[in-house]
Amino acid sequence: MKTLRRDFLKIAAVAALGWGVRPAAELMAASGGGKSEGLFFASRHAVHAGPNALKATRWAMVIDTAKLTEEVVAAAVTVCHTTHNVPNIPGNQELKWLWETSMEHLFLDNHHEYQPEAAAKSALALCNHCDNPPCVRVCPTKATFQREDGIVMMDFHRCIGCRYCMAGCPYGSRSFNFKDPRPHIEKIDLDYPTRTKGVVEKCEFCAERLAEGKLPSCVEVSEGAISFGDLDDPESEVRQLLSERFSIRRSPYLGTKPCVYYLV
């Protein structure tokens, strides 16, 4: 009995050692190397894309608030929600990926009482695809993760529905499926998955469209009000706009490095 236990301990010790000497980089994170996910800590995932895919090292969105008319806003919200099977659930358990809100709610810190019209002007809110995303930091299962091109994604099959990411997001960009969303989708788009009850979802910068070489759907219908491109490419449209026009981001002092810019 005693020897058996000793043998077992020996084997256990060797096994533990073997685990310990596995290359730490492989265990901790998977930047490059073809692996898609770190075993322990949240890490950036490689992007698997088709031959026509649009590629970037840092996707970003620039919204020209001057060009945002009520019609553009409505069209963008509608196309986003229909192509992604976002259910239409009234009340405070609603789901929204891209939604209309006022400038005053988007930029709380710039609020003052002498701009009643400008403050009430309608604008778009969505996931900021932060470079330093708190939602990814708090997720206990890596169900929300960041790709190497910066897009913050959701794995709807892994999410346990703890909603820690919703508490972590300082922009209110995440929605939870309090109930089965399917009966509340007017017309299901078979090109995109529907979700089940009990998982969190949000805007994914139309990663599924980028993979096919298409721009995000809101950009397509925006009549030039929304631009999308690679922040790391000095020649890109977004970089041109950012260098020429003054832009603001939502709560940049939080250190999240949001990648949605608003031209004012």
Binding site: L39, F40, F41, A42, G91, N92, Q93, E94, L95, K96, T101, H105, L106, L108, A125, P134, R137, V138, C139, P140, T141, K142, A143, R158, C159, I160, G161, C162, R163, Y164, M166, A167, G168, C169, P170, Y171, G172, S175, F176, N177, F178, K179, D180, T196, K197, G198, V199, V200, S251, L254, G255, T256
Partner: protein, 384 residues
């Protein structure tokens, strides 16, 4: 030793039957939640955590209170606490199980719970909360059971158990610290974003937890004749009142920082809780009741003579316990989410089904507590 739990008076079995009844009510409500989703709760897109997570937060504190007996007994050789120590440890067991049940009840997809182990993610505080809570549960089951068994055999407990007893001290601190870190590390949630949160959680825990222990010990005394020893509960009452003083002090520190700095995103939550915000203030009467209860509880228990009187000690502990429960079990979570990051106001009120699920969970916890206490007190009375 578990056989002690299957013999008892009519009152004992009546209580067990009552708890089982409440548990079945809770199970029926939870069935509704499983079928329809968390839509049966009052939670919303803006207030995405509610009563369940608040109960979990509060009960972590009640669980940690065992350390307020372990420290005097083992670090200061205050032997009087020896007799009720087991009640503290078994209370911790029941409370941690309650915490875990409330977390599971809050999950949108509980069938995927094991993903937390399949995809361990140390950069998430929730991962660490799972580690420390389960660890604390195991430590207290082990320590409680081993020391009680030794007592029954009338031998000294094995020496190795000392290691776990000492380990339980920092571990108790860790469970509430990590639970506070769940909230206070989130950018953009002004009410929680304060370094004083973990300290405040511990202070209110060391008030509410021992207060609960005192109350439960009185109940045990009434029904089993268990005698905790002269002056023991009064001494524990001192811990309760000092901890509540520290808690109020830390709250006032928070109030000063928030309102003297005048930073709107930090002020708005306290305003919402205590005076209402843009006409919304469902929690205002609750928060003021909590404050009044805490202050009256302190005024009663701060006087040493009052702690010696059973009735005053009970009233003081009740006030402090309920006050701490409102502060943490209602205000802490709701207040953190209102107003939301876009400065919109969605209020939260739990639904009946949500309260039904919670009732069932509480009944399960009390069933475990009853059985463990029955065993512990049964063994103690057998030895005597």
């Amino acid at each position: 030793m578990l056989e002690k739990a299957v013999t008892g008076t009519k009152v004992y079995w009546g209580w067990i039957a009552f708890l089982l009844l409440l548990m079945s009510v809770g199970a029926a409500c939870y069935w509704q939640q499983l079928s329809h989703g968390l839509t049966i709760t009052g939670m919303s897109r803006d207030v995405s955590w509610g009563f369940y997570i608040a109960q979990f937060t509060f009960l972590v504190g009640v669980a940690a209170s065992a350390v307020m007996l372990v420290i005097p007994k083992y670090l200061h050789n205050y032997q009087k606490f020896g007799k009720i120590l087991i009640l503290g440890e078994f209370n911790a067991v029941a409370m941690v199980i309650l915490c875990l049940m409330f977390i599971v009840a809050d999950l949108g997809s509980p069938e995927r719970l094991m993903n937390v182990l399949l995809h361990p993610t140390p950069n998430s505080v929730l991962f660490w909360d799972m580690v420390v809570l389960n660890g604390y549960l195991l430590i207290n089951i082990l320590v409680g059971w081993v020391t009680l068994e030794a007592e029954r055999k009338q031998v000294a407990p094995p020496k190795w158990i000392k290691f776990f007893i000492y380990l339980s001290i920092p571990w108790a601190v860790s469970i509430h610290t990590v639970t506070a870190f769940l909230y206070c590390g989130l950018p953009g949630r002004g009410y929680w974003l304060t370094a004083v949160l973990a300290a405040r959680f511990l202070a209110s825990a060391f008030a509410a937890g021992p207060a609960f222990l005192i109350l439960v010990t009185y109940i045990a005394k009434v029904f089993t004749g268990f005698d905790p020893g002269k002056g023991v509960l009064a001494t524990l009452g001192k811990t309760v009142v000092y901890a509540m003083c520290v808690n109020l002090f830390l709250l006032l520190c928070e109030v000063f920082v928030v309102f003297y700095s005048q930073i709107p995103s930090h002020m708005s939550h306290l305003q919402y809780l205590f005076v209402g915000y843009h006409g919304h203030g469902v929690l205002v009467p609750w928060m003021w009741s909590a404050m009044i209860m805490a202050v009256v509880g302190i005024l009663i228990l701060i006087v040493p003579k009052n702690r010696e009187q059973d009735n005053l000690l009970i009233i003081g502990c009740l006030l402090i316990f309920i006050g701490a429960w409102i502060d943490k079990g209602l205000g802490m979570i709701g207040g953190g989410f209102v107003p939301n990051p876009l400065h919109e106001i969605t209020e939260y009120v739990p639904t009946q089904l949500e309260l039904g699920v919670s009732l069932g969970i509480y009944a399960t916890g009390f069933l475990i507590l009853t059985i463990l206490y029955k065993v512990a007190i049964g063994v103690k009375q057998e030895v005597e």
